[in-house]
Symmetry: C2
């Protein structure tokens, strides 16, 4: 196992390659569906060499999820209580949609984990996510009370943003089966704009 002093250039390169390969394999097959050999081959390393950097399969998975959880919540974190309410929410939706476009593998990694009952991130869900959501929910309720946006159930409003945006990453094959050559996001962007404008304009 490599020392956790300042990493050498080789450690940096290989760790990055492994995380990249892990992301590919885990997001496409789920945790149990992914094999260490597959990750090793995708990373261009021998299996023992791979396990030299991450002692086990779960370690790779954990490293990915830990790294992901933060970036995943960022778009919501950035929703600013001092901004114009409707603008802030629309911007949040746009950021979230952008994440589905830019990080579809990360989205599917997450989806795989949650569909199967989130056995490995239950705690993060009930703590990190719950805390952030409750904070932002209060903000949404204040905006509603002030008549800045229409009154809707704030939790379900957030659910709608998550599901509508992540759908384009998670259900990509289905979306493309319907749309054919058309770029999903070309249509999604104005559609969601319209949807939330009509839903939330007081």
């Amino acid at each position: 196992m490599p020392k956790d002093r300042t990493p050498t250039r080789i450690q940096k390169k290989n760790r990055a390659a492994i995380l990249e390969a892990s992301l590919n394999v885990f997001s496409a097959n789920g945790f149990r569906g992914a094999t260490v050999d597959q990750i090793a081959s995708e990373a261009g390393l021998s299996k023992p060499n791979l396990l030299y950097y991450f002692p086990s399969k779960v370690d790779m998975h954990n490293a990915l999820l830990a790294q992901l959880m933060d970036t995943w919540l960022d778009p919501l974190r950035e929703m600013d209580e001092d901004g114009e309410p409707l603008t802030e929410i629309m911007a949040y939706v746009r950021r979230k949609l952008q994440m589905s476009r830019d990080f579809p593998r990360e989205s599917r990694l997450f989806a795989n984990e949650i569909v199967q009952g989130a056995p490995r991130i239950h705690d993060a869900l009930n703590h990190d996510l719950k805390t952030l959501v409750d904070e932002k929910t209060k903000l949404l309720e204040r905006w509603m009370a002030d008549g800045k946006i229409a009154r809707v159930h704030p939790y379900h409003l957030l659910f709608s943003v998550w599901s509508l945006t992540q759908h384009y990453a998670d259900f990509d094959v289905q979306v493309r089966a319907i749309l054919g050559d058309e770029d999903p996001f070309d249509g999604a962007d104005p559609f969601l704009e319209t949807l939330y404008l009509r839903l939330l304009t007081p």
Copy 2:
């Protein structure tokens, strides 16, 4: 392997038990994550006995998906071109949400399959689903042209229904982590009602 003459009472009972057990295990773990032993034990059969009724793991999975695909598309099929447009769409949304409530395991089976690239149902997606969607899409466009409902991208309108309703089944753990004791569907129902009313009222 049992003859495919008229099934005996034992065949009926065991086939049903196996499909029930398969649904539990596949929906909770995905195809690769599910093991034959697990299904056998859940069905209360020995492994060889299970394989006497379904010759392989893929056969069980296929049987489930084939059976599912039809019921899954039914809510959309029922959308009636002779009905009142807005009412028809709202009823479709309600039926779809009801399916998430009544058949969450089926929804997760589907989700698992699609998130992982739908390797086993690619054809059904590009044919059965695509055909039905294109037919109903024409109907939606006619309603829009007639000014009965607001103009939005019809494909993305359908995507929104799918994602918003299935989210409550597929991301159940996450939803419950946020809502706590509150019944997800108590809030979902009026939320979606409001959302589609505001989106589609001309």
